[in-house]
Structure formats: C-alpha cells, structure tokens
C-alpha cells in the first residue's frame, strides 16, 4: 500500500466530514469564479464599448496633445502615413479625427460643444455613430397621435412619462413602453407610423451637414433639417465660424457626450478651424486585441511614425475609466477574499479536528517505525485530495454557467436598464470566458491548502509520542 492509497482510504474514514470540507471548497470556488467572470466580463464589455465606439485601441497624436488637447497641437496626417500604419498586419483600420471646441447657437440658445471631425466611411470601422442614429422619437405630436390609437392602457400612461425620449432601436422602446414580444407585431407598426424619425448618416461630399447628440438637439430645440451655428477659435488663433444643416441626431449612451457632441466630416472640420490637412489624432483598430498583440503592434508602429508623434494606448486615453474599474475590481477582490477567508476557516476547522482525532494513531505510527516525513506526506496527500476534489468540482460546475453567460449575457430590463444606459453602459452583464483568472482561483485555494498542510506537518513534527499514545 503506497502513501496515496493510504491517504485515499483515510479521507473516506469520515465520509461526511470529507464531503462537507470538499463542499465548502466547491462552493467558494464556484461562486468566486462566477463573481469574477461577471466582474471581468463587465469590464471587458465596457472597455470594448469605449474602445470600439470612441477611443480605438491606439491613437497617434502629436507629442503635446495628450497634456494640452488644443488644435495647435494637431499634426499633418497625410495618406502616406495612414497607408504605412494600415500596412501593419494587426491593424484593422486607421481613421483621422480632428476634435475641438466651439460655441453652438440656434435661435437665442447657445451651448458649448465638442466638434468631432470624422471620416464618415472609415469611422464605421471604429465607432458606432452610424448605429446610434435615432429611429424613434416621442415628440408631442407623436404622443398625441399615438394616444388616439388602440394601445394597451399602460403604454398610454408610459408615453407621457417618456415624452421627448429618443430611441435608436425597437428593443429599448418596447421595454420603456411596457410591451412584450407578443405585442410587437400589433403595436410596433403604430409606433413606426407616428413616432419614426427620419435620420441620415454623414456623407463626405455633403460638407455642410452634421450629426448632433440627442441631448444637444433637445437643449437647442433643433431637429433634422434645422441649422446650427458654430463659432470658435481655429488653428493658430484664426476665427472659426460656420452654419451647418442637421442631417442626423444620434443617441449617445453617455449623457455627458450626448449633450454636447457635434459630428461632421473631417474635411468640413478642417475648413471650420482653418486646419487644412491637420488631425488631432489617428484612431487605430486592431485585429488581435490581446495585450501581447497590442504591445507588439505598438512597438512596430512606434518605429514607422515620425519622431514628433507618439502612440497612446487605450488605457492612457481612458485613464479615468481604467482607474474606476481598477477600484471596482479591488472591491470585488475584497469580497472574494472574504469568501476565501470563510473557507480557510472551514478547512482549518477540519484540519484541527482531524489532528485531534488521530493524535494517538500518529503517535502509534511513529512508535512502530514510520518516519515523521512519511506520515506528514500521507496527511498532506489527504488534504490535497480533499481540496482538489472541491476545486475541480467548482471549476467543472462553473464552466457551463460562465460559457452560457458569455454567449447569452444577463440583460437588464426596465428601470435598471435605463439606469445603466444613463451611466453610459450597455444594460447587459456578460461573463468573461475562462481565462487566467480560473488559474488564479485554483492557486488561491492551493495556497490555503498549503498553509493547512504546513500547519499539519508542523503538528506532526512536534507531536509528543508518549503523551499522544495515552490520549
């Protein structure tokens, strides 16, 4: 009989205790993995949203632009440089942008705005502006017409609550109107008839058209076809002023941006600011987006761009969000730490009971000639087996939940969904596919087990054989 066989038989001496201990490890690992996968999955989605709707994975900027984001720190971005960047095997798309500030006016109302000069076609590869155009709007006229139609009573009540609300798709509209999927075929045509919103995306040749945020359109009282006036300071202090027709209204999830953003073709923005051929950034999207590939791509790109330019990673560009997520991540880790502390006490309780119960047996084994290191090895095997049973069961049980949660993320509805959207987040909670964090949970449990094993070994080495035989 070898040490492993003896350990295996020993753990089944007290079947119930072994199962309870393994179960405590199982539940801790299972819940820790689910919690961690939801947390990391949410971060992953949020970062992807920001990266893929605004910042890109890497931006090329003039050296001083990051610290002082003004037009004077823009740079000449010719087609040659764009082609050079695009030739990197990991670069999916690269688009120029020119961003600056202006005062927007309509009638007697004014508002400070961010003007974003974008490449309308190229930007489709980067941001979601074309998918954020408002499709439905509950204007006074639309609500009045809808009230005369055959709609569920609760929908009619909700119409008043959501007055002036804009929708980029039918999903959120149905939710806000308290409609289920079965109502869709009856009710949606009615909304299409009265609340549809004609909207158009930017076209490069239409140089005097813009898209504005829904919040900004509400504030300035502007709609499609209206004119917005922009006044600001251009490149090297030239005066910037222009009149533009509103071609589209976009609903941007972040209210901070939604209330102030004006999108226009990049060449139109260059004309407005007198910044011909200039850009404030070149936004780069990647094929492989893992950290290793990003670092490698950045390394290659750093060698081809002029010395006056620098590369900024998405982490630098979204430092505030990264820090917020980091703080949230730490609080999540504290929660998981508490979970593990609880199982650590559970495991130690078992170890203490086991050591007390088998004290005499250990003393007898040492008396008849079993070396302490061999005895310690058997006990270590026992604890390792119990721990690994719990860890493996926890990992196996969590896998289908995590994979399902990634493919079918938990989707918030109603008020909760609105709240998430108001904060600029998609109202979904996806899990992150099994990754290095799985390994870390196992490592943490193994560390707890190692401490318990070390404690047991120390007890065995310090065992008083004579007193223990009498015990």
């Amino acid at each position: 009989m070898n040490d492993f066989q003896m350990a295996w038989r020993n753990i089944w001496r007290n079947r119930r205790r072994t199962l309870i201990t393994a179960a405590s490890v199982f539940f801790a690992v299972f819940f820790a993995l689910i919690m961690r996968s939801v947390q990391l999955g949410s971060y992953d989605r949020m970062f992807k949203n920001v990266i893929e709707s605004y910042s890109g994975y890497i931006q090329v900027q003039q050296k001083d632009y990051f610290d002082e984001p003004v037009l004077d720190n823009s740079f000449e971005l010719d087609q040659g440089l764009l082609d050079l960047i695009a030739s990197d095997p990991n670069v999916k798309a690269v688009v120029p942008r020119l961003e600056s500030f202006a005062l927007a006016a309509a009638g007697s109302s004014t508002q400070g705005v961010v003007v974003m000069g974008i490449d309308p076609q190229g930007e489709k590869e980067v941001s979601e502006v074309h998918n954020r155009l408002v499709r439905f709007k509950l204007t006074d006229e639309a609500i009045k017409a809808l009230m005369n139609e055959t709609l569920p009573e609760r929908t009619k009540k909700l119409l008043k609550i959501f007055k002036n609300e804009a929708y980029t798709g039918t999903g959120r509209l149905m939710l806000d109107m308290g409609l289920s999927e079965k109502d869709t075929s009856d009710v949606l045509p009615v909304f299409r008839k009265y609340a549809s919103f004609s909207n158009y995306y930017l076209e490069e040749e239409d140089s005097m058209s813009v898209i504005i945020g829904d919040g900004l359109s509400d504030y300035l009282g502007l709609s499609i076809g209206d004119t917005i006036v922009l006044i600001g300071q251009g490149y090297h202090g030239v005066s910037a002023a222009g009149k533009y027709t509103i071609r589209g209204i976009a609903k941007i999830p972040s209210p901070d941006i939604d209330n102030i953003v004006v999108y226009m073709p990049v060449n139109t923005a260059r004309k407005l600011y007198g910044a011909h051929g200039l850009s404030t950034s070149a936004v780069i999207m990647m094929n492989n987006t893992d950290e290793k590939s990003l670092v490698a791509t950045a390394g290659r790109l750093a060698e081809v761009i002029p010395e006056s330019l620098v590369l900024r990673s998405w982490k630098e560009l979204n430092a505030l969000m990264v820090n917020q997520m980091d703080a949230d991540n730490k609080s999540g880790m504290i929660m998981i730490g508490i979970l593990y502390l609880v199982i650590a006490f559970g495991v130690f309780g078992t170890v203490l009971m086991m050591l007390a119960e088998r004290r005499r047996e250990f003393a007898v084994l040492i008396s008849i000639g079993m070396q302490k290191h061999k005895l310690a090895g058997v006990v270590a095997f026992e604890l390792l087996l119990i721990g690994l049973m719990g860890v493996m069961a926890g990992v196996i049980a969590s896998l289908p939940v995590v994979i399902y949660g990634n493919i079918n993320p938990l989707r918030f509805k109603g008020q909760m969904a609105s709240m998430w959207e108001d904060y600029g987040f998609e109202p979904i909670m996806p899990t992150l596919m099994p990754d290095a964090y799985y390994l870390w949970q196992t490592v943490v449990v193994l560390i707890i087990l190692s401490i318990a094993i070390f404690f047991s070994i120390r007890k065995i080495y310090k065992l008083n054989v004579i007193q223990s035989i009498k015990a």
Partner: protein, 236 residues
C-alpha cells in the same frame, strides 16, 4: 547473549511544582529469548521503563544499550528507524490502523522496511496463521474482536523480525479466553522462534506465565526473579 543492557537509568519528570522520579537507578540486562514481565503497582514506573526500552523516551541519566547501541546517541529520525528494525510494540488498546485490513496492518511494517512484496505477503500470511487469523486476512480492525485485534497487533510487532517485543498491558482489555489464547500464542512464538518478549502488566496470568518477573516500586527494582516452573497458564 545480551540483547538489552540498562545501566543505572534514571528518569525524572520536572512538572511545574513537583519532581517525579519515575525510574530510579535501574540496572537490568535481558538475554535473547527471554519471556519477562515487569510488574508493580500503578505509578511504579513500569510503563516509563518500557518507553525507555522502546526508545520512545530518553533517560535523564544512565544508558540503555540495545545490541551494544546506545539509544541516547541516536537522533529522532535514527531512533524511529532503529525501532522499525529492532523493536516490536504491542499496545494495551491494540492501536491497529483502522483503514487497513489485518493483512495490510501486518504488511505495513515490512513495507516501511522496503521488503519486497512477495516476501511481505508470505511472512504476513505465516504470521497471521501463527496467531490463528489465517482466515481473517481481509478484515478491517472494526470487524475483529478485541482479542483478534490484539493478535493482529502481535503479528504486526513480529513482522519486522525485531530483536525483542515490548508489550504494555497486552491483556488488559481482553476477556479471559482471549487473554489465554494471546498468551499461548506469544509463549509459543517465544519458545519456538526465540523471540524476546517483555511485558508490563498487572495481569496474574501473564505473571504466572513469565519465566522472569521484575518487580518495580517507586521507580526502583525491588525484585528480579527468574522462575524455573512450567509456562502453562492453566497449570500456574
């Protein structure tokens, strides 16, 4: 031929308030093939002396030599190895390993000695047969009676071919029939295989059977009597 030499051994326990002289200037020799009982009232030092002989405890002063090897010169791990190769133990409460069968309990000692499997199986079989348990090879301790467990313990003690066997009150937990059977087995093994047995006991049946009786009182040897009579417990 002397197997054990005890030379002026003292064992003093220093508790917080009082000093206990558990073994007081004991000098004894044991030859190969002895069947000896150490007797005396509770607290006379029987078990302490047995612990010293077994290398489970070290004397405060004096020497214990086993085949000329001074136990006090050995390190903890060397002492464990020395016990494995030279001393067999039989405990009052049997102390078999509960997760192992009778066969495995006996074979366990030989596995520790790294004896090959075939030899181990043969010796285990012959020892369990010798103690009358040839048909209970696969029984775990919980399925055996007290007497049967103690017989397995005797077989286990003999498995390593020790120089001597120390038995601390081996019959204390057994009924008279089981005790008689156990004593007969041990006496037979002693007689036929010249295995040295040293008992600490209160049991008059063991005393009657022993060929040498050492009486302790307050840690001192007050008599050391070598008997010449028959070993049959029925006739004692």
């Amino acid at each position: 031929m002397k197997v054990i030499e005890i030379k002026d051994v003292n064992k003093i326990y220093n508790s917080t308030e009082i000093k206990v002289h558990a073994v007081n200037g004991v000098s004894l020799d044991f030859d190969q093939g002895e069947f000896a009982a150490i007797v005396g009232p509770s607290g006379s030092g029987k078990t302490t002396l047995l612990n010293l002989l077994g290398g489970l405890d070290l004397p405060t002063s004096g020497k214990i030599l086993i085949d000329g090897e001074d136990l006090s010169k050995l390190k903890s791990s060397q002492l464990i190895d020395f016990r494995l190769r030279n001393i067999g133990f039989v405990f009052q409460s049997y102390n078999l390993i509960p997760v192992l069968t009778a066969e495995e309990n006996v074979g366990f000692i030989m596995a520790l000695q790294k004896i090959d499997r075939k030899e181990r199986e043969e010796r285990t079989w012959s020892l369990l047969k010798a103690v009358g348990l040839g048909d209970r090879l696969n029984s775990r301790p919980a399925k055996l009676s007290g007497g049967q467990q103690q017989r397995v313990a005797v077989a286990r003690a003999l498995a390593s071919r020790p120089k001597f066997v120390l038995a601390d009150e081996p019959t204390a937990n057994l009924d008279s029939k089981a005790a008689k059977t156990l004593l007969e087995i041990m006496e037979k093994l002693n007689r036929e295989e010249k295995i040295t047995f040293i008992f600490s006991t209160h049991d008059p049946r063991v005393v009657k059977m022993a060929r040498r009786v050492i009486t302790l009182e307050d840690g001192k040897v007050i008599s050391d009597e070598v008997k010449k009579q028959s070993n049959d417990p029925e006739n004692g």
